[in-house]
Protein backbone atom coordinates (compact mmCIF):
# COMPACT_ATOMS: atom_id res chain seq x y z
CA UNK A 1 0.00 0.00 0.00
CA UNK A 2 1.45 3.29 -1.05
CA UNK A 3 1.85 6.04 1.45
CA UNK A 4 -1.12 8.36 1.65
CA UNK A 5 -1.00 12.09 1.16
CA UNK A 6 -3.08 14.65 2.98
CA UNK A 7 -4.97 17.12 0.83
CA UNK A 8 -7.28 19.98 1.68
CA UNK A 9 -9.39 21.85 -0.81
CA UNK A 10 -12.70 23.62 -1.23
CA UNK A 11 -15.43 21.67 -3.01
CA UNK A 12 -18.60 23.57 -3.90
CA UNK A 13 -17.82 26.07 -1.17
CA UNK A 14 -17.17 23.46 1.54
CA UNK A 15 -13.76 22.80 3.07
CA UNK A 16 -12.71 19.18 2.51
CA UNK A 17 -9.77 17.29 3.98
CA UNK A 18 -8.78 13.79 3.01
CA UNK A 19 -5.97 11.27 3.00
CA UNK A 20 -5.54 9.66 -0.36
CA UNK A 21 -3.08 7.70 -2.42
CA UNK A 22 -1.29 10.02 -4.85
CA UNK A 23 -2.46 7.85 -7.75
CA UNK A 24 -6.12 8.59 -6.96
CA UNK A 25 -7.65 10.35 -9.95
CA UNK A 26 -9.76 13.40 -9.21
CA UNK A 27 -12.90 11.78 -10.69
CA UNK A 28 -12.51 8.77 -8.37
CA UNK A 29 -11.91 11.05 -5.40
CA UNK A 30 -15.10 12.96 -6.14
CA UNK A 31 -17.29 9.95 -6.81
CA UNK A 32 -15.94 7.43 -4.29
CA UNK A 33 -14.54 9.51 -1.43
CA UNK A 34 -16.92 12.47 -1.47
CA UNK A 35 -19.93 10.67 -2.95
CA UNK A 36 -20.32 13.44 -5.54
CA UNK A 37 -21.48 11.36 -8.49
CA UNK A 38 -22.56 14.24 -10.73
CA UNK A 39 -19.37 14.21 -12.78
CA UNK A 40 -19.48 11.05 -14.88
CA UNK A 41 -16.84 8.61 -16.03
CA UNK A 42 -17.25 8.35 -19.78
CA UNK A 43 -14.31 7.49 -21.99
CA UNK A 44 -11.60 7.61 -19.29
CA UNK A 45 -9.23 8.88 -21.98
CA UNK A 46 -9.84 12.66 -21.82
CA UNK A 47 -11.88 12.73 -25.02
CA UNK A 48 -15.53 12.90 -23.97
CA UNK A 49 -15.68 15.61 -21.28
CA UNK A 50 -18.33 13.86 -19.14
CA UNK A 51 -16.00 14.16 -16.13
CA UNK A 52 -15.46 17.92 -16.54
CA UNK A 53 -15.22 19.93 -13.31
CA UNK A 54 -14.03 23.46 -12.61
CA UNK A 55 -10.71 23.72 -10.76
CA UNK A 56 -9.33 27.16 -9.88
CA UNK A 57 -11.19 28.84 -12.72
CA UNK A 58 -10.31 26.27 -15.37
CA UNK A 59 -12.44 23.50 -16.83
CA UNK A 60 -10.55 20.23 -16.41
CA UNK A 61 -11.24 16.62 -17.27
CA UNK A 62 -11.09 15.01 -13.85
CA UNK A 63 -10.22 11.59 -15.29
CA UNK A 64 -6.83 13.00 -16.27
CA UNK A 65 -5.95 14.97 -13.14
CA UNK A 66 -4.70 13.48 -9.89
CA UNK A 67 -6.61 14.50 -6.78
CA UNK A 68 -3.31 15.61 -5.17
CA UNK A 69 -3.03 18.21 -7.93
CA UNK A 70 -6.20 19.82 -6.56
CA UNK A 71 -4.61 20.27 -3.13
CA UNK A 72 -5.26 23.82 -1.97
CA UNK A 73 -7.60 24.39 -4.87
CA UNK A 74 -11.16 25.52 -5.35
CA UNK A 75 -13.38 23.00 -7.06
CA UNK A 76 -16.86 23.36 -8.53
CA UNK A 77 -18.91 20.36 -9.65
CA UNK A 78 -22.41 20.25 -11.09
CA UNK A 79 -23.72 19.68 -7.52
CA UNK A 80 -22.52 23.19 -6.65
CA UNK A 81 -24.30 25.04 -9.45
CA UNK A 82 -27.83 25.33 -8.05
CA UNK A 83 -28.08 27.91 -5.25
CA UNK A 84 -30.78 28.22 -2.59
CA UNK A 85 -32.89 25.46 -4.12
CA UNK A 86 -33.01 27.20 -7.49
CA UNK A 87 -31.50 25.79 -10.63
CA UNK A 88 -28.64 27.77 -12.13
CA UNK A 89 -29.81 29.60 -15.27
CA UNK A 90 -27.75 27.15 -17.34
CA UNK A 91 -29.51 24.18 -15.75
CA UNK A 92 -32.94 25.75 -16.27
CA UNK A 93 -32.02 26.54 -19.88
CA UNK A 94 -31.06 22.89 -20.53
CA UNK A 95 -34.52 21.94 -19.23
CA UNK A 96 -36.32 24.62 -21.27
CA UNK A 97 -34.45 23.92 -24.52
CA UNK A 98 -34.31 20.12 -24.24
CA UNK A 99 -30.52 20.32 -24.09
CA UNK A 100 -30.30 16.68 -23.09
CA UNK A 101 -31.79 13.30 -23.84
CA UNK A 102 -29.98 10.56 -21.91
CA UNK A 103 -28.26 13.12 -19.69
CA UNK A 104 -24.92 11.37 -19.42
CA UNK A 105 -22.90 14.27 -20.85
CA UNK A 106 -25.00 16.95 -19.13
CA UNK A 107 -23.00 17.55 -15.91
CA UNK A 108 -19.84 18.05 -17.96
CA UNK A 109 -21.66 20.28 -20.45
CA UNK A 110 -23.08 22.43 -17.65
CA UNK A 111 -19.82 22.89 -15.79
CA UNK A 112 -17.91 23.62 -19.00
CA UNK A 113 -20.60 26.06 -20.20
CA UNK A 114 -20.40 27.76 -16.78
CA UNK A 115 -16.69 28.57 -17.31
CA UNK A 116 -17.29 29.53 -20.95
CA UNK A 117 -19.85 32.14 -19.88
CA UNK A 118 -17.51 33.42 -17.15
CA UNK A 119 -14.87 34.06 -19.81
CA UNK A 120 -17.17 34.99 -22.71
CA UNK A 121 -20.43 36.33 -21.27
CA UNK A 122 -22.06 36.95 -24.63
CA UNK A 123 -20.75 34.28 -26.99
CA UNK A 124 -21.72 33.77 -30.61
CA UNK A 125 -23.05 30.35 -31.58
CA UNK A 126 -19.63 29.60 -33.07
CA UNK A 127 -17.95 30.52 -29.80
CA UNK A 128 -20.35 28.25 -27.92
CA UNK A 129 -19.59 25.35 -30.24
CA UNK A 130 -15.85 26.04 -30.03
CA UNK A 131 -16.05 26.41 -26.26
CA UNK A 132 -17.87 23.10 -25.85
CA UNK A 133 -15.75 21.23 -28.38
CA UNK A 134 -14.20 19.12 -25.62
CA UNK A 135 -17.58 17.71 -24.60
CA UNK A 136 -19.24 14.99 -26.63
CA UNK A 137 -23.00 14.39 -26.75
CA UNK A 138 -24.26 11.36 -28.68
CA UNK A 139 -27.99 12.20 -28.39
CA UNK A 140 -28.84 15.77 -29.17
CA UNK A 141 -26.77 16.68 -32.20
CA UNK A 142 -25.75 19.71 -30.11
CA UNK A 143 -28.40 22.06 -31.55
CA UNK A 144 -30.41 22.29 -28.35
CA UNK A 145 -27.30 22.47 -26.19
CA UNK A 146 -26.19 25.55 -28.13
CA UNK A 147 -29.68 27.04 -27.75
CA UNK A 148 -29.62 26.37 -24.01
CA UNK A 149 -26.25 28.08 -23.53
CA UNK A 150 -27.53 30.99 -25.63
CA UNK A 151 -30.64 31.30 -23.41
CA UNK A 152 -28.54 31.21 -20.23
CA UNK A 153 -26.13 33.81 -21.61
CA UNK A 154 -29.03 36.13 -22.43
CA UNK A 155 -30.60 35.64 -19.01
CA UNK A 156 -27.36 36.12 -17.08
CA UNK A 157 -26.65 39.23 -19.19
CA UNK A 158 -30.07 40.69 -18.34
CA UNK A 159 -29.56 39.92 -14.64
CA UNK A 160 -26.24 41.70 -14.71
CA UNK A 161 -27.75 44.71 -16.51
CA UNK A 162 -30.52 44.90 -13.89
CA UNK A 163 -28.04 44.90 -10.99
Amino acid sequence: MAEKTKISLTVNGNAVEAEIEPRTLLIHFLREHLNLTGAHIGCETSHCGACTVDLDGRSVKSCTVFAVQANGGELLTVEGMAAGGELHPLQQAFVDQHGLQCGYCTPGMLVRAYRLLQETPNPTDDEIRWGLSGNLCRCTGYQNIVKAVRQAADELGQKEAAE
Partner: protein
Amino acid sequence: MIPGSFAYHRPASVDEAVALLGQFGEDGKVLAGGHSLIPMMKLRLATPEHLIDINGIGELKGIREEGGQLRIGAAATQADILASDLLANTCPLLPEAAALIADPQIRYCGTLGGNVANGDPGNDMPAVMMALAAIYALRGPGGAREVAARDFYHGTFDTALAENELLTEIRIPTPAPGHGASYQKMKRKVGDYATAAAAAVLSFDGDRCASAAVTLTNVGEAAIFVTEAGDALVGTAVDDTAVAEAAARAMALAAPVSDLRGPAEYRTQMAGEMARRAIRTAAARAKGG
Protein backbone atom coordinates in the same frame (compact mmCIF):
# COMPACT_ATOMS: atom_id res chain seq x y z
CA MET B 1 -7.80 2.29 -15.60
CA ILE B 2 -5.96 3.07 -12.38
CA PRO B 3 -2.31 4.08 -12.51
CA GLY B 4 0.38 2.27 -10.58
CA SER B 5 1.52 3.63 -7.24
CA PHE B 6 3.99 6.46 -7.07
CA ALA B 7 5.34 9.04 -4.64
CA TYR B 8 4.27 12.60 -5.40
CA HIS B 9 6.62 15.58 -5.20
CA ARG B 10 5.73 19.20 -5.74
CA PRO B 11 8.93 21.27 -5.81
CA ALA B 12 8.65 25.03 -5.41
CA SER B 13 11.70 25.92 -7.52
CA VAL B 14 13.62 24.77 -10.59
CA ASP B 15 16.63 23.99 -8.38
CA GLU B 16 14.52 21.70 -6.24
CA ALA B 17 12.98 20.00 -9.27
CA VAL B 18 16.39 19.41 -10.86
CA ALA B 19 17.72 17.99 -7.56
CA LEU B 20 14.78 15.55 -7.43
CA LEU B 21 15.36 14.52 -11.07
CA GLY B 22 19.02 13.91 -10.27
CA GLN B 23 18.10 11.89 -7.20
CA PHE B 24 15.51 9.62 -8.86
CA GLY B 25 17.07 9.20 -12.31
CA GLU B 26 14.99 6.94 -14.53
CA ASP B 27 12.50 6.27 -11.69
CA GLY B 28 11.36 9.90 -11.76
CA LYS B 29 9.06 11.61 -14.27
CA VAL B 30 8.12 15.24 -14.66
CA LEU B 31 4.39 15.95 -14.44
CA ALA B 32 3.46 19.11 -16.36
CA GLY B 33 -0.02 19.21 -17.95
CA GLY B 34 -0.27 15.46 -17.54
CA HIS B 35 -2.36 14.84 -20.64
CA SER B 36 0.25 12.63 -22.27
CA LEU B 37 1.74 11.10 -19.12
CA ILE B 38 -1.41 10.32 -17.10
CA PRO B 39 -3.10 8.39 -19.97
CA MET B 40 0.13 6.38 -20.34
CA MET B 41 0.12 5.72 -16.59
CA LYS B 42 -3.52 4.63 -16.65
CA LEU B 43 -2.63 2.08 -19.33
CA ARG B 44 0.43 1.10 -17.21
CA LEU B 45 2.61 1.88 -20.20
CA ALA B 46 4.37 4.32 -17.85
CA THR B 47 4.95 3.32 -14.22
CA PRO B 48 7.18 5.99 -12.67
CA GLU B 49 7.97 5.53 -8.99
CA HIS B 50 8.24 9.27 -8.45
CA LEU B 51 6.22 12.05 -10.03
CA ILE B 52 7.70 15.53 -9.92
CA ASP B 53 4.87 18.02 -10.41
CA ILE B 54 6.32 21.27 -11.79
CA ASN B 55 3.05 23.22 -11.70
CA GLY B 56 3.93 24.85 -8.41
CA ILE B 57 7.04 26.51 -9.85
CA GLY B 58 6.16 30.13 -10.59
CA GLU B 59 9.35 30.83 -12.56
CA LEU B 60 8.25 28.29 -15.22
CA LYS B 61 4.99 30.11 -16.01
CA GLY B 62 5.83 33.46 -17.56
CA ILE B 63 5.60 34.76 -21.12
CA ARG B 64 7.82 37.78 -21.77
CA GLU B 65 10.13 39.46 -24.27
CA GLU B 66 13.77 39.91 -23.37
CA GLY B 67 16.91 40.51 -25.40
CA GLY B 68 15.18 40.17 -28.77
CA GLN B 69 13.65 36.84 -27.73
CA LEU B 70 10.19 35.73 -26.76
CA ARG B 71 10.73 33.72 -23.60
CA ILE B 72 8.02 31.29 -22.61
CA GLY B 73 8.22 29.28 -19.40
CA ALA B 74 8.00 25.55 -20.00
CA ALA B 75 4.91 25.23 -17.79
CA ALA B 76 2.95 27.96 -19.61
CA THR B 77 -0.23 26.31 -20.88
CA GLN B 78 -1.77 26.39 -24.34
CA ALA B 79 -4.52 28.54 -22.79
CA ASP B 80 -1.84 30.96 -21.52
CA ILE B 81 -0.48 31.18 -25.07
CA LEU B 82 -3.96 31.90 -26.44
CA ALA B 83 -4.48 34.63 -23.82
CA SER B 84 -1.14 36.39 -24.38
CA ASP B 85 -1.35 39.83 -26.01
CA LEU B 86 2.43 39.80 -26.44
CA LEU B 87 2.29 36.63 -28.57
CA ALA B 88 -0.79 37.79 -30.49
CA ASN B 89 1.10 40.92 -31.49
CA THR B 90 4.60 39.58 -32.10
CA CYS B 91 4.20 35.92 -33.04
CA PRO B 92 0.60 35.05 -33.99
CA LEU B 93 1.76 31.67 -35.30
CA LEU B 94 1.92 30.43 -31.71
CA PRO B 95 -1.71 31.09 -30.74
CA GLU B 96 -2.79 29.90 -34.21
CA ALA B 97 -1.13 26.54 -33.55
CA ALA B 98 -2.23 26.37 -29.90
CA ALA B 99 -5.88 26.75 -30.94
CA LEU B 100 -5.55 23.61 -33.08
CA ILE B 101 -4.31 21.48 -30.17
CA ALA B 102 -6.77 19.25 -28.34
CA ASP B 103 -9.83 20.98 -26.81
CA PRO B 104 -10.54 23.77 -24.28
CA GLN B 105 -10.23 21.60 -21.16
CA ILE B 106 -6.94 20.12 -22.28
CA ARG B 107 -5.56 23.51 -23.34
CA TYR B 108 -6.05 24.74 -19.75
CA CYS B 109 -3.70 21.95 -18.61
CA GLY B 110 -1.39 21.12 -21.51
CA THR B 111 1.90 22.99 -21.43
CA LEU B 112 4.15 24.25 -24.20
CA GLY B 113 7.10 22.53 -22.51
CA GLY B 114 5.37 19.18 -22.40
CA ASN B 115 4.26 19.49 -26.00
CA VAL B 116 7.77 20.18 -27.28
CA ALA B 117 9.81 17.99 -24.89
CA ASN B 118 7.73 14.82 -24.93
CA GLY B 119 9.05 13.75 -28.32
CA ASP B 120 5.67 12.57 -29.62
CA PRO B 121 5.63 13.12 -33.41
CA GLY B 122 1.89 13.84 -33.17
CA ASN B 123 2.49 16.97 -31.10
CA ASP B 124 2.10 20.21 -33.03
CA MET B 125 4.53 22.58 -31.36
CA PRO B 126 7.83 20.89 -32.34
CA ALA B 127 7.31 21.76 -36.02
CA VAL B 128 6.25 25.29 -35.07
CA MET B 129 9.35 25.72 -32.91
CA MET B 130 11.62 24.42 -35.67
CA ALA B 131 10.05 26.86 -38.13
CA LEU B 132 10.63 29.75 -35.70
CA ALA B 133 14.24 28.68 -34.96
CA ALA B 134 13.42 28.34 -31.26
CA ILE B 135 15.98 27.40 -28.65
CA TYR B 136 15.22 25.19 -25.66
CA ALA B 137 16.80 26.07 -22.31
CA LEU B 138 17.56 22.91 -20.31
CA ARG B 139 18.71 22.54 -16.71
CA GLY B 140 20.35 19.48 -15.21
CA PRO B 141 22.60 18.59 -12.29
CA GLY B 142 25.58 19.79 -14.38
CA GLY B 143 24.06 23.22 -15.05
CA ALA B 144 22.19 24.95 -17.85
CA ARG B 145 22.51 24.46 -21.60
CA GLU B 146 20.67 25.44 -24.76
CA VAL B 147 19.66 23.18 -27.63
CA ALA B 148 18.14 24.42 -30.89
CA ALA B 149 14.70 22.97 -31.66
CA ARG B 150 16.09 21.94 -35.06
CA ASP B 151 18.69 19.73 -33.30
CA PHE B 152 16.48 18.48 -30.47
CA TYR B 153 14.48 15.67 -32.07
CA HIS B 154 16.25 12.38 -32.80
CA GLY B 155 13.23 10.10 -33.27
CA THR B 156 9.94 9.07 -31.72
CA PHE B 157 10.16 9.81 -27.97
CA ASP B 158 13.89 10.27 -28.52
CA THR B 159 15.17 13.79 -27.90
CA ALA B 160 18.29 15.62 -26.74
CA LEU B 161 16.78 15.97 -23.26
CA ALA B 162 18.66 13.81 -20.73
CA GLU B 163 16.77 11.83 -18.09
CA ASN B 164 17.92 14.13 -15.32
CA GLU B 165 17.29 17.37 -17.23
CA LEU B 166 14.33 19.74 -17.10
CA LEU B 167 13.21 21.96 -19.98
CA THR B 168 12.80 25.35 -18.31
CA GLU B 169 12.18 27.85 -21.10
CA ILE B 170 11.48 28.14 -24.81
CA ARG B 171 13.31 31.06 -26.44
CA ILE B 172 12.12 32.29 -29.81
CA PRO B 173 13.94 35.03 -31.71
CA THR B 174 11.21 37.69 -31.93
CA PRO B 175 10.05 37.51 -35.54
CA ALA B 176 10.71 40.71 -37.45
CA PRO B 177 7.65 42.90 -38.06
CA GLY B 178 6.34 42.13 -41.54
CA HIS B 179 7.08 38.43 -41.36
CA GLY B 180 4.31 36.07 -42.33
CA ALA B 181 3.60 32.70 -40.78
CA SER B 182 0.96 30.00 -40.85
CA TYR B 183 0.24 26.57 -39.38
CA GLN B 184 -2.11 24.38 -41.38
CA LYS B 185 -3.36 21.19 -39.77
CA MET B 186 -5.57 18.55 -41.27
CA LYS B 187 -7.33 16.49 -38.60
CA ARG B 188 -10.39 14.29 -38.49
CA LYS B 189 -12.00 15.96 -35.49
CA VAL B 190 -11.36 18.30 -32.58
CA GLY B 191 -8.72 16.78 -30.34
CA ASP B 192 -7.16 14.58 -33.00
CA TYR B 193 -3.53 14.50 -33.94
CA ALA B 194 -2.73 15.69 -37.45
CA THR B 195 -3.30 13.50 -40.47
CA ALA B 196 -0.63 15.89 -41.72
CA ALA B 197 0.28 19.46 -40.81
CA ALA B 198 2.78 22.08 -41.94
CA ALA B 199 4.22 25.34 -40.66
CA ALA B 200 5.72 28.09 -42.81
CA VAL B 201 7.52 31.26 -41.72
CA LEU B 202 8.46 33.70 -44.49
CA SER B 203 9.97 37.16 -44.77
CA PHE B 204 10.17 39.35 -47.86
CA ASP B 205 12.54 41.96 -49.24
CA GLY B 206 10.30 43.88 -51.62
CA ASP B 207 8.45 41.27 -53.64
CA ARG B 208 11.17 38.63 -53.23
CA CYS B 209 11.21 36.05 -50.45
CA ALA B 210 14.21 36.79 -48.19
CA SER B 211 13.92 33.86 -45.80
CA ALA B 212 11.70 30.80 -45.56
CA ALA B 213 11.30 27.92 -43.14
CA VAL B 214 8.92 25.02 -43.80
CA THR B 215 8.29 22.17 -41.34
CA LEU B 216 5.97 19.17 -41.09
CA THR B 217 4.07 17.49 -38.23
CA ASN B 218 3.21 13.79 -37.78
CA VAL B 219 4.49 12.46 -41.07
CA GLY B 220 7.70 10.94 -39.76
CA GLU B 221 9.37 9.71 -36.59
CA ALA B 222 9.66 13.32 -35.45
CA ALA B 223 8.78 16.76 -36.76
CA ILE B 224 10.63 17.48 -40.01
CA PHE B 225 12.49 20.67 -40.92
CA VAL B 226 12.46 20.76 -44.72
CA THR B 227 15.57 22.82 -45.49
CA GLU B 228 15.13 22.21 -49.23
CA ALA B 229 11.61 23.65 -49.25
CA GLY B 230 12.83 26.92 -47.77
CA ASP B 231 15.62 27.02 -50.35
CA ALA B 232 13.05 26.62 -53.14
CA LEU B 233 11.25 29.77 -51.97
CA VAL B 234 14.09 32.19 -51.16
CA GLY B 235 14.68 34.64 -53.99
CA THR B 236 11.35 33.92 -55.65
CA ALA B 237 8.08 35.85 -55.54
CA VAL B 238 6.54 32.71 -53.95
CA ASP B 239 4.59 32.17 -57.15
CA ASP B 240 2.77 28.96 -58.04
CA THR B 241 5.89 27.33 -59.48
CA ALA B 242 7.95 28.01 -56.36
CA VAL B 243 5.16 26.84 -54.06
CA ALA B 244 4.72 23.63 -56.04
CA GLU B 245 8.46 22.95 -55.93
CA ALA B 246 8.64 23.60 -52.16
CA ALA B 247 5.66 21.29 -51.55
CA ALA B 248 7.20 18.56 -53.72
CA ARG B 249 10.38 18.78 -51.64
CA ALA B 250 8.35 18.55 -48.43
CA MET B 251 6.52 15.48 -49.72
CA ALA B 252 9.86 13.90 -50.63
CA LEU B 253 10.89 14.00 -46.95
CA ALA B 254 7.51 12.95 -45.54
CA ALA B 255 7.53 9.33 -44.42
CA PRO B 256 4.24 8.71 -42.60
CA VAL B 257 3.00 5.27 -41.62
CA SER B 258 -0.38 3.98 -42.76
CA ASP B 259 -2.78 4.17 -39.84
CA LEU B 260 -6.38 5.09 -38.93
CA ARG B 261 -5.74 8.56 -40.35
CA GLY B 262 -5.13 7.11 -43.80
CA PRO B 263 -2.67 5.25 -45.98
CA ALA B 264 0.89 6.56 -46.18
CA GLU B 265 0.42 7.75 -49.79
CA TYR B 266 -2.61 9.83 -48.81
CA ARG B 267 -0.94 11.32 -45.75
CA THR B 268 2.10 12.25 -47.87
CA GLN B 269 -0.15 14.06 -50.36
CA MET B 270 -1.89 15.84 -47.49
CA ALA B 271 1.51 16.91 -46.11
CA GLY B 272 2.14 18.50 -49.50
CA GLU B 273 -1.24 20.21 -49.49
CA MET B 274 -0.75 21.52 -45.94
CA ALA B 275 2.67 22.84 -46.98
CA ARG B 276 1.15 24.63 -49.99
CA ARG B 277 -1.56 26.20 -47.83
CA ALA B 278 0.88 27.19 -45.09
CA ILE B 279 3.30 28.80 -47.58
CA ARG B 280 0.55 30.66 -49.48
CA THR B 281 -1.08 31.89 -46.27
CA ALA B 282 2.25 32.95 -44.77
CA ALA B 283 3.13 34.84 -47.97
CA ALA B 284 -0.25 36.61 -48.03
CA ARG B 285 0.15 37.61 -44.39
CA ALA B 286 3.67 38.90 -44.97
CA LYS B 287 2.30 41.05 -47.77
CA GLY B 288 -0.35 42.39 -45.43
CA GLY B 289 -3.14 40.14 -46.65
